[in-house]
Amino acid sequence: MKYVEEFRDRALAEKLSAAIRAEADPVRSYNFMEFCGGHTHAIFRYGVQDLVPANVQFVHGPGCPVCILPIRRLDDAIELAERHGVILCSYGDMLRVPGSKRRSLLSAKAQGADVRMVYSTLDALDIARQNPDRQVVFLGIGFETTTPPTALAIRQAADEGLTNFSVFCNHVLTPAAIRHILDAPDIDPDEAVHLDGFLGPSHVSTVIGSKPYEFLSETYRKPVVIAGFEPLDVLQSVLMLIRQVNEGRVEVENQYARVVTREGNTKAQDLVDEIFELRPAFEWRGLGMVARSALAIRPAYAAFDAEARFDLSDKTSREVKSCECPAILRGVKKPKDCKLFGTVCTPDNPMGSCMVSSEGSCAAYWTYRRAETLAEMAKDKAMAEQAA
């Protein structure tokens, strides 16, 4: 606990806050995207926004694994459980995400599908061992941090010769998504998000290192600071970003040097490389098709690939109309811009993925900043009515 408290010290936070206020130029704005849902969560959980001046804004990125799984893939997972009768194992957060027709894995389970919540890939392997006469599919989601455990499970299953275990692979890659967001303004100028820099992922970077972000400073001229998940990490990283902007520097800096290195965890990278290969393109909820942004299981391990093993039907999957998750995941809208926020859509009755995961923007606003958000929405509405 000592460790944790050290990074949540109020006196230190106030010092950093004072430095940020002193150094942030009041005549300009600073829009920093925190890519990771983990950062979004920490920012809200600790009220970090209250410790920075109003012209320093956090733009919430798409780094929430549950949020970006396209609805089509979720429908596929439900089909695996229902039509193919497999035991579908998933991390808990995923169970409540609404798919087409607002059906979730949890509602499929209530209607008799065998959906089980697991805490790790190893739990899924155990379930496969205990049920040799059933097919067990692990719903693999997440960024570079959750990929090595999935790779490990596949290798373990191969070593043991398990014939009833496979993975429905939806693992995605962070740097490709950041590139996509930065390219987006060229594609659709209406949607241009002005970004002055990035708070880089912490846990993801422990695996891939800081090197994969160097294109951001080199090609896109955007400052990056790899930031830890503690609130003081976030504050310090904001200060580092402000200094880069003020001094006209564009670098990949590493605030989280106590854990992240330039090369990352090469052992984990090798393991991932052995099991997975790059997909030419993959759909992200909110971002659409993103080139070279996801992993598929290599043909050598096809026996453990649920997509190769089961025949998944074509389907036309549909989002809930007027759910703004896609725009929110691109950073161009905020939850208050969604008419459903807090009225129809709440964490107990989510319409979109951003309201389900604790790392999703809508859930963060609802859980930690609801009073302010509802007040702002009322104000916006009053202004709109006046204008009309």
């Binding site: 959980r45 209250d50 609801r370």
Partner: protein, 348 residues
């Protein structure tokens, strides 16, 4: 648990199990009661041997509270379903400002449940009731077929007497009142979760399950004007506070830095992605009182073993009605929300 007198206790073999006939109401039922429950629960009310226990009418107003206990696992660090069923109901009675005078207990037991475990639970219940000084006045036992229950479910009811002049209730809340908490948050929930299948982790945290009525009696005697007492069980402190202000003209402001949480509980919560404010407690209370009484009450709480870590954690406000706001550890602010979705199942 009545009519036990004519049947003598018998010694069951060590590996004996509960059978359907133990719940049939016949001789086997009486034998079970005489052998497993009676030795541990012994008290004059129970020994009256009637279908209904007869209590002398005490002076003052009566409170009644009932609570079903379905916890899994049945035995956990710091207690078991038996002691929990006693403490939980005693605390509910005490939160009315009342002095508990009697308990009742109803057992639903699954066929095949080991008698040795049942006896262990009965012993722990008897012990908890004896320590609390509150008799288990009457009870009931039913057996359900294998697979229709999960070991044992226990429902306890408590009766208590409220001293004159004590008017505890949410209608007494007003802006400016102080919010006190009797000790560390999350011990019970974390102790239970550490035992859960698929989640087991090493911890020295034990459940805080404890009876609070003695501490409450002293508090109420010193400050009869206490506005409100609540035990933050399921849903934790956040649910307790939200329940109080939702839909009212009042809000709450609390301060994260002064809320007592054990280091190990904080680390476990971190690991599991949980908030200590959402975790269940079984031996803590929240007291809301006039500002002027806060120090007196804190001193009384701290003088009891159950309240050594008592702290003033916040204030009732008139700003932001309906919301619980918290100044965070680093000095920002945020709303403290209800726990949404499903807490890990069956913690009490």
């Amino acid at each position: 648990m009545t009519a036990m007198q004519p049947i003598r206790a018998k010694r069951f073999p060590a590996d004996a199990r509960v059978t359907m006939s133990h719940g049939g109401g016949g001789r086997a039922t009486s034998e079970l009661i005489a052998s497993v429950f009676a030795p541990h629960f012994a008290n004059p009310l129970l020994e009256q041997g009637h279908d209904a226990a007869r209590l002398d009418r005490p002076a003052g107003r009566i409170v009644v509270s009932t609570d079903g206990h379905v916890i899994s696992p049945l035995f956990f660090p710091g207690g078991d379903i038996g002691s929990l069923a006693v403490h939980g109901t005693l605390n509910d009675v005490a939160m009315g400002g009342a002095r508990p005078i009697a308990l009742t207990a109803a057992f639903v037991i699954e066929e095949g449940f080991p008698l040795a475990n049942l006896e262990r639970i009965a012993a722990s219940m008897g012990e908890a009731a004896r320590r609390a000084g509150v008799p288990i006045a009457t009870g009931d036992t039913k057996v359900v077929e294998r697979g229709k229950g999960d070991g044992v479910f226990i429902t306890t009811t408590g009766i208590g007497v409220v001293p004159d002049g004590v008017e505890i209730g949410p209608d007494r809340l007003a802006a400016g009142q102080a919010i006190l908490l009797s000790g560390t948050l999350g011990d019970h929930g974390v102790a239970i979760m550490s035992q859960r299948q698929g989640l087991e982790f090493e911890t020295t945290i034990t459940s805080d399950s404890a009876a609070l009525h003695r501490m409450v009696a002293d508090m109420v005697a010193a400050v009869p004007g206490i506005a409100l007492l609540r035990d933050p069980t399921r849903g934790g402190l956040s649910s307790t506070l939200n329940e109080l202000v939702e839909g009212t003209r009042l809000g709450v402001l609390i301060e994260e830095a002064v809320i007592p949480v054990k280091g190990e509980v904080a680390s476990a919560c971190e690991l599991l992605g949980l908030d200590p404010l959402h975790i269940a407690n079984e031996g803590k209370l929240v007291c809301i009182c006039e500002e002027a009484d806060a120090e007196t009450l804190l001193a009384i709480m701290r003088s009891h073993g159950e309240g050594t870590d008592a702290a003033r954690i916040g204030t009732v406000t008139a700003e932001e009605p309906g919301f619980v706001r918290m100044t965070t550890a680093i000095g920002g602010t945020r709303i403290v929300d209800w726990l949404s979705g499903e807490q890990l199942p069956r913690i009490c």
